[in-house]
């Protein structure tokens, strides 16, 4: 038991953006929000970060979480006098970081998380799903390392995981954290600073990558992790462009050093019970968190500690462009139900993940109806639309109302999106 000072994120309302419409005070279920003639404020001694106030706020002013030393949280009287939000308080040497009081820390708030995130690029889109993790999820650590205290990892492996004759150059990169603590859970991510500077002579922003390794490390029992990186050589319109971070990472050699920050993510997390089921839907490098979850279950399964069902929908242009295709096909059929959606196969109609989800409607429906099932979607931005439409059709055809089921999946932390 330590008595060291702790640092927490205090829920505050930005007085510069707030329009004093009273919606937050009206929606707060535990009366943690109040106002005077100047400001609307959150009482830190009452607020439990339940997030009920966040979606109804028309301005986003409500969604601010500022680092404070816990003995020094701002009182409502102080907040009444503010014209603008204060700067985050400096953490004293050796302070322990406490993320949020409730497990339901928000996706939306992640976007606002102190200076660290403002310089993050390619943050994933998560809003279509739950903002809370499954109830049994292990508690994640987040933001242990920020711009102020980044850490250095060593490259211990860099392998191409797609066929060398395909255009899709995807790498599996293993980073060793040495003595630096980096507790991670499947579904979390880290952010990496590419070497070099932009045309204005400034360091590049950090880019976020999902962890592809399970919680006990890429190599079990070692403090290492892996990420899945696709080399970017053209933009969405097919114009040649060199991905700043992806090329840097794909070209790394063994023993090179990498500067990184994180971890991030407190809702795209797997349930932590032996009989829970996972439906995983991904394309391309969106396979990373699915690989992490599958590998965690595989290791548990080997010890007879996993009894749930795994169902995977995996989209790519062709088999040879599927990252981890070989190892994936070696998994026993009774362990994981794999469904491939290939969009560029000679003489076959194009298939996307949503088409295959529809083909497996009855099995997917059975899993949706089982409260022990969680659904994860990860891949290129835009795929959430097709997936949601397919899930909606399946549920509607069974006579249930998708809106109800969708709402339930979200409030129970059973449906998660990460698209980028």
């Amino acid at each position: 038991m330590t008595t060291a000072t702790t640092v927490m994120k205090q829920h505050l309302i930005d007085p510069e953006i707030c329009i004093r419409c009273n919606t937050c005070e009206e929606t707060c279920p535990i009366d943690a929000i109040t106002h005077d003639s100047n400001n609307y404020v959150v009482d830190a001694s009452i607020c439990n970060d339940c997030m009920a106030c966040v979606p109804p706020c028309p301005t986003g002013a409500i969604d601010n979480w500022i680092q404070v030393v816990s003995d020094n949280a701002y009182s409502i009287e102080e907040q009444f006098t503010w014209d603008e939000l204060p700067e985050p308080q400096e953490a004293p040497e050796g302070a322990e970081v406490v993320e949020a009081k409730a497990p339901a820390a928000p996706t939306a708030s992640e976007a606002q998380e102190q200076e660290g995130d403002q310089d993050l690029e390619n943050k994933p889109f998560t809003a279509a799903g739950a903002s809370i993790p499954p109830w049994s999820a292990a508690h994640p650590y987040t933001n242990l390392y920020t711009h102020k205290n980044p850490v250095t990892a060593t490259v211990v492996g860099n392998y191409r995981v797609t066929d060398s004759d395909t255009d899709s150059d995807i790498h599996h990169i293993v980073l060793d954290m040495g003595d630096t603590p980096m507790p991670l859970l499947e579904g979390q991510s880290i952010a990496i600073f590419p070497a070099g500077e932009d045309e204005n002579g400034r360091s590049y922003h950090a880019r976020q990558y999902s962890i592809a390794s399970p919680r006990d490390g890429e190599r079990p029992g070692y403090n290492n992790l892996s990420i899945t990186v696709k080399r970017v050589v053209e933009d969405h319109d097919g114009k040649p462009v060199k991905g700043v971070c992806s090329n840097y990472l794909c070209d790394l050699q063994k023993n090179d050093s990498v500067k990184l920050i994180g971890p991030y993510g407190n809702s795209f997390l797997m349930p932590n019970l032996p009989d829970s089921n996972l439906v995983m839907i991904c394309t391309g490098t969106g396979a990373a968190p699915m690989r992490a979850m599958t590998e965690h279950c595989r290791r548990l399964n080997k010890e007879g500690k996993y009894r749930g069902k795994l169902m995977l929908f995996f989209g790519a242009r062709s088999e040879r462009e599927l990252p981890y295709f070989g190892p994936l096909m070696n998994l026993p059929k009774d362990f994981i139900d794999i469904n491939l959606a290939l969009s560029r196969q000679a003489d076959r109609p194009k298939k996307y993940v949503q088409d295959v989800i529809r083909e497996r409607a009855s099995d997917v429906l059975a899993l949706i109806n089982d409260s022990k099932t969680c659904i994860y979607v990860c891949g290129l931005k835009g795929m959430e639309e097709g997936v949601l439409a397919a899930l909606k059709d399946i549920v509607t055809e069974s006579g249930k109302k998708w809106e109800d089921v969708h709402a339930q999946l979200k409030t129970q932390g059973r449906l998660h999106f990460e698209t980028y």
Binding site: C21, E26, A52, P56, P58, G60, A127, K401, A407
Partner: protein, 475 residues
């Protein structure tokens, strides 16, 4: 019972299908509503895909669902806040009794009148704003306009449901009439004056959504205290939508000020002519727009002394803003309240029975709220190092309703002769020239991420989308 059933023709969370007569009556009204939307709704916009917020349930988790929708396909419907089974009447003569689930016979006419008056404002503002889409300063603003429009449409639905469900044949007739009166129409204008004024340009739109939709907030807030529970629940949910409208106004004016201040600093000038030459709106013009919209809006609260207001309160039909948080006896029989009158050519306060002054009480609550927001606008100027400060005019300025309607008062509260007023009115209220200048800036900007020269981009996109998100798709 918080989920909204979207599989029905009329989405609702009131189990509409269990009341066939009501369902049929509303289904009969629906095509007329859609026809009204086609005829009087946003111009040349029926085919656009708009990134709209739709409620899927009335609890916090479900009422902010974002997706592309064509406005005529927006699922207008009937959404009431969840029912609190034990709700008690908490003001007036019926204090302590159970809230009414039906309209009591003796209050039927008054309740109907209150609902019709509120309902009439909702389609009116859509009509007032219908041409604004043609001159939007950005896709972001265009989307916000359309969001405001569809929600005003839904607020009409909310009132029409109450009329149909609780007021029989009279209610149905009133519901039809809501689609027949039109803003600014000579033959059948909207009930309240402010809703017959034009909203000719986007500065006027921001001022309208800041000031006039804030009137909506206070009226709905007073109605959400009502002893008539269906009205209280309906207006409670409407308030959550109203907040977005005020946001559009407050942030809109704030962005106009930000851009003007930026240009003033670049040109190092305070000269309105030079500022206009640079294609932005000068601060005195913004002040004149503010004076106009503020004074027209405070008229909406009605006469300063009103026996109707006393009756509505004592009967439990309409409470005060935040009635539940006030600590007096909630009967107000022995209380007084100051109102303004003109005496010997001077304005002075006199005390009148509180019950008769309840319009003034609500107006004063509104004024405090408005002034606080104007101070937030001033912070924008302060931050930019500009000396100019916006102010709200005196309560008696440019009034057309109540005891102050017959007199001429300057923005600082000096009573004037007609000659003095005429000599100065162009300094205080927007002139034809002001309006023509602002109108000359209105040109449509529809490239994602681009903004008209006279307005700054917002600090944050809608639903955390980037600023250059395609908020409206032209097909």
């Amino acid at each position: 019972m918080s989920g909204i059933n979207y599989s029905e023709k009329i989405p609702n969370n009131v189990n509409l299908s269990s009341d066939r007569t009501l369902q049929r009556a509303l289904e009969h009204w629906q095509p007329n509503y859609l026809q009204w939307w086609q005829d009087m709704g946003p111009e040349a916009s029926q085919e656009l895909d708009v990134y709209l917020r739709t409620a899927v349930s009335v609890d916090p988790s479900g009422w902010a669902h974002f997706d592309y929708v064509k406005m005529p396909d927006y699922r207008w419907g009937i959404f009431l806040a969840p029912q609190d089974g034990d709700r008690k009447i908490h003001f007036g003569e019926h204090l302590g009794e159970a809230a009414w689930q039906d309209a009591p016979g003796e209050h039927r006419a008054n309740l109907r009148r209150i609902i019709v008056t509120q309902g009439d404002t909702e389609p009116a503002s859509v009509e007032q704003q219908r041409h604004l889409g043609l001159t939007a300063p950005s896709l972001y603003d265009l989307r916000n306009l359309f969001q405001v429009n569809v929600e005003e449409g839904r607020h009409l639905w909310a009132m029409v449901y109450l009329l149909h469900r609780y007021f029989g044949r009279d209610g149905r007739e009133e519901a039809d009439a809501l689609l027949q009166r039109h803003s600014g129409s000579e033959d059948s204008p909207r009930i309240l004056g402010a809703f017959n004024e034009k909203t000719p340009d986007w500065l006027a739109f921001y001022m309208f959504t800041y000031f006039t939709d804030r009137d909506g907030k206070f009226q709905l807030s007073a109605l959400s205290e009502s002893a008539f529970d269906p009205l209280a629940r309906t207006t409670k949910f409407m308030l959550t939508e109203e907040a977005h409208h005020m946001f559009v106004g407050e942030s809109g004016v704030s962005r106009v000020l930000q851009r003007t201040a930026q240009v003033m600093n670049e040109l190092k000038t305070t000269d309105p002519e030079a500022i206009r030459k640079a294609g932005v709106i000068d601060l005195p013009t913004i002040q004149r727009y503010l004076n106009f919209h503020y004074s027209v809006t405070i008229d909406l609260f009605g006469a300063d002394q009103s026996s109707n207001a006393a009756i509505f309160y004592s009967a439990g039909l309409k409470g005060r803003h935040e009635e539940g948080k006030r600590t007096d006896d909630h009967l107000l029989k022995n209380d007084t309240y100051p109102i303004l009158e003109v005496h010997n050519g001077e304005l002075r306060e006199i005390q009148v029975p509180m019950l008769n002054a309840l319009n003034e009480v609500l107006r004063d609550d509104y004024i405090r709220d408005s002034v606080a927001g104007v101070n937030r606008w001033n912070k924008v100027l302060e931050k930019a190092g500009i000396d100019f400060r916006l102010t709200v005019p005196h309560k008696a300025f440019n009034r057309r309703i109540g005891t102050l309607s017959g007199i001429r008062v300057s923005p600082d509260g000096t009573v004037l002769t007609e000659e003095q007023w005429n000599a100065n009115v162009d300094k205080w209220l927007p002139t034809e020239e002001d309006r023509a200048y602002v109108a000359s800036l209105m040109g449509r900007v529809v490239e994602p991420g681009k903004f008209a020269n006279w307005i700054a981009p917002p600090p944050m996109g809608i639903n955390r989308q980037p600023i250059d998100f395609e908020y409206v798709r032209f097909n």
